[in-house]
Amino acid sequence: MGKKGVVKQYFVMAELLFVGIIVLGMILFSKGAADGKDIEKNYLARDMGLLLTAIYAAPGDVRYTYYLQNNEFDVQISKGQVIISENGLRPITYYYAEDETMQNPDFKIQKPKQIIFVKKGKQVTIES
């Protein structure tokens, strides 16, 4: 095979590689959209973020149990962020409002079945 033929072969291989990347991207995107996990994570992050923001506003003490049946996601709540991920991958983040005059939570757990939000005096803690 001449030099020209070898270069053409490389060119075709590069093209095939490019097509492969595009197809893989399409499959991953379609899979992510079809299994509905992104919307579930998004919902959980927003729900917990808004719940925590509301709990901080409570004038008295609060103990709120958040049940997560058949939960497959990891939960991390700290520094004003609720992060929901699948084994630490593909995280979805939403924000909650902390209070600098209070002791704020730092919480991380894998696949919890329930999360308990506690506001007592000048302290907000999270348990499972």
Binding site: V19, G25, F29, A33, N42, L50, Y56, A57, Q81, A97
Partner: protein
Amino acid sequence: MISKKGIISFETLMMGIIRMVEYIIAFFILYAIVSMFIITKVDTSRTEGHVYINRIIYAASYQDPETGRVYPGVIDGEKMTSEALAQKIKSSSKAAVSISFANKQAIYNERYFNYLQPLAESKIPGKSATLSKQHYLFILHENTEKAEAFDFAAVTAR
């Protein structure tokens, strides 16, 4: 342009580039079609505005200096300042609230408020729309008939 002795012809190169552009266009068309039919976003902007207004109302609640009792929902005007709110409500959220009362103004998340308020006033719909929510709490004065109110204007990005 590559000469006849070149290792790859100009036509082959151009055809390859055109094909790659076609793949990219096809990918984006598929992405747009799938995005149209599958919901991946949750719009909580309306709830967010409501939650932040109430958070501010309770963050500035009046506390009796002698007994220490907190009166939820009764606002202490002295606690309603931009600085106090920034300390009591610290968030990276794209929610901002302006509170106007008795010729004074306090703004929570001022940077976002200045950015989002013109967008909210424009009322441009769509995915990047900004929502505006108004809320009033009336001020009670003794021995006066003058009607005043705390005017809460919340703006939240979708």
